[in-house]
Amino acid sequence: MSERHLLTGNHAAAYGALLSRVQVISAYPITPQTTIVEELSEMVASGRLAAKFITVESEHSAMAACVGASAAGARAYTATSGQGLALMHEMLHWAVGARLPIVLSNVTRAMAPGWSIWSEQTDFLSQRDVGWMMLFAESVQEAQDFVIWLYRVAEQVYLPGMVAMDAFILSHTSEPLIIHDQDRVDAYLPPFEPLYDLDPAEPRAYGGLVARDHYYEIRYKMYENMERAGPLLAEAGAEFGEVLGFPYGAVDTYMLDDAEYVLVSAGAMSSNVRYAVRLLRERGIKVGMLRLVVFRPFPFDEVRLHLGGRAKVAVLDRNMSPGHSGIFAQEVRAALSLGAPATDVYGYVLGIGGRDIRVETVIEVVEDLLAREQPQRCLYVGVKGLPIGPARPGAEIRPLEPLRSEVAP
């Protein structure tokens, strides 16, 4: 039977790999990911997990070893964080182009310099355009379950997937965790039966030189399968509920039905957002939350459906794309541009480098949101000595004036 334990997000991620019966693990230690690989090392050493663990000399090599193992037909897993994920970047592309269903847990961490081990999503979101399925876990339970959920879909579409888990707030915080019964996980996630596995009886070449008359079609198949991944994640998420008791979907909502104001959130901060929503409701403010669970493939329909027509939408970004805005804000605006009832989107950047996002912080954001009349691209929350506002005082977005046509004198 499934068992209830008190465990950290990192241990939960290791249990996700154990329950998925991964066959090859390759990883390099980095704070705050280390306890994932420590736990997995013990699982392998004790024989609980029948896998090969390759202790490589870098994250780039960790992903390259997973690429080799997966190409040869093994279920492969790794975990990393921040600088490590950035170093992997080239091989993340390789995993996608080679169509390998690898799963990775990334403890989201702020990028150096200065050295920071604290929570921020920019490392993860910098991998946005590579072509991995990307999920944001909010709880210890999700840190475990999303690994299993991802393998299920990854092996259907031959695309890799990564789970984001907030540094310390999720990675090192203990919460109750249901460790599922192995038989039930086996019923949900069958063994990996690869289409190709580098079998010398079928001497094919993989990933070699390709000319302009084939490359686009090869990539098109990859894009097409990423589109398939959306409905498959939804289907597999619902089945996770039926078989294992926890239903998952592309988004999660809280007090959204009659909400005039919506906070868009992702990851562990969503728990504080949910609490702030409840307190604001007590004050009579009609606010709700939309949590993005699946980031790639992006849930366009859910975002248009849940956000279109609201009085105001505030997007909470624990990340930043300098010169533009928070990355979720960009994505939400882009989805709403595809035909949705009008709404105004306000971008808020907060929690950079592990700065706390408290319930009070979220309430301040909503108070600021209520006071504004013009949607804003990027408002910074909690910079010492500064009120919530744009990067330069007076640089707020203003209503557009018509272009002047007269020639300068």
Binding site: Q23, V24, S26, A50, A51, K52, I54, T55, V56, E57, S58, H60, S61, A64, A65, C66, V67, G68, A69, S70, A71, A72, G73, A74, A76, E90, M91, W94, D197, L198, D199, P200, E202, P203, R204, A205, Y206, G207, G208, L209, V210, A211, H214
Partner: protein
């Protein structure tokens, strides 16, 4: 000597190699020794082109193309999967000098230190030939390349990759060249029967990059060995040295250098040529001392196999 190179071919006739390509010859011979239960892992190098343009390829074993710096570790991952699946397939990482001496050295060192059960072969043509003859850390002192032009030829000696690999105390490291095919095949056969990381360093002629006619390709590699610029030897366990070929004729280093346009700076700077000659003599003397320490009674151990 008995000719016992297998007649079976594991490279299809017709590939994209240049005329006289040492890398193409070496692959043909290496696969004769390793046989068909082999997976080849090829990072960015001439062989990513030689193997052919999708949807065809030249090898009759599976080929996994991987990123430039990852031959040794991608091979490690493939081997791990094969072990989990209970298969005995030989995993061959096949990289150029750039992918071995330079960008792939970190992953190679990691694999060697872990003693991964792979055969790693470096076909060394002593520069980035695939991208148009730029210097690598395998380029010898005094050599012309497009990034070490005549006015400033290569100013540092070739990196000693064999000593780097020996320092990892791997079971087997050996040098060879397709100009001595029996020796090359014997070394790959010996490697195949061993476990752990096996490293084979192949001097591999590149007529376009070495600036010489392709019909002298074999002669060039033979003179490299006979002039002691590239001795044939093995290192077992990182400590036991065996010289496999003792040149019995006096071949001057100039005989090897003169046939290649890339060495023209050596003939315009007598001091540079003397410096190179000194390096070759020192390296040979060191090698002989190590051989004699390993084989106190026998100065001329036979070719292995």
């Amino acid at each position: 000597m008995k000719w016992d190179i297998p007649l079976e071919e594991w490279v299809h006739p017709g590939n994209l190699g240049c005329q006289g390509c040492g890398g193409a010859l070496a692959m043909r011979l290496a696969l004769k020794a390793l046989g068909p239960d082999t997976v080849a892992v090829i990072p960015a190098c001439c062989w990513s082109v030689i193997d052919g343009l999708f949807p065809v390829h030249a090898l009759q074993v599976p080929v996994f193309h991987t990123a430039f710096e990852t031959a040794a570790v991608a091979a490690s991952g493939i081997k791990a999967a094969k072990v989990v699946q209970g298969r005995k397939t030989t995993v061959l990482a096949w990289a150029g000098d750039g992918g071995t001496f330079d960008i792939g050295l970190q992953a190679l060192s990691g694999a060697a230190e872990r003693n991964e059960d792979i055969v790693y072969a470096c076909y060394d043509n002593e520069a980035y030939m695939n991208t148009g003859i730029q210097r690598s850390s395998a380029t010898p002192l005094g050599t012309w390349t497009t990034t070490t032009p005549d006015e400033r030829p290569e100013s540092r000696p070739k990196k000693n990759i064999m000593e780097i690999m020996a320092a990892h105390r791997i079971p087997y490291a050996a040098t060879c060249t397709p100009a001595y095919p029996e020796d090359l095949v014997a070394k790959f056969r010996k490697a195949k029967e061993m476990r752990g990381t096996r490293f084979i360093h192949i001097l591999s002629v590149c007529p376009p990059g070495w600036k010489m006619p392709s019909d002298q390709a074999i002669e060039a590699m033979r003179l490299a060995v006979l002039s002691r610029v590239f001795p044939l030897y093995e290192i077992e366990g990182g400590l036991s040295y065996t010289v496999n070929l003792w040149p019995d004729e006096e071949v001057a280093v100039e005989d090897y250098f003169r046939m290649q346009g890339r060495f023209r700076p050596l003939f315009e700077d007598p001091a540079l040529l003397e410096q190179v000659r000194g390096h070759v003599e020192d390296q040979w003397a060191t090698l002989v001392r190590r051989h004699e320490r390993t084989h106190p009674a026998d100065r001329s151990a036979p070719i292995p196999g």
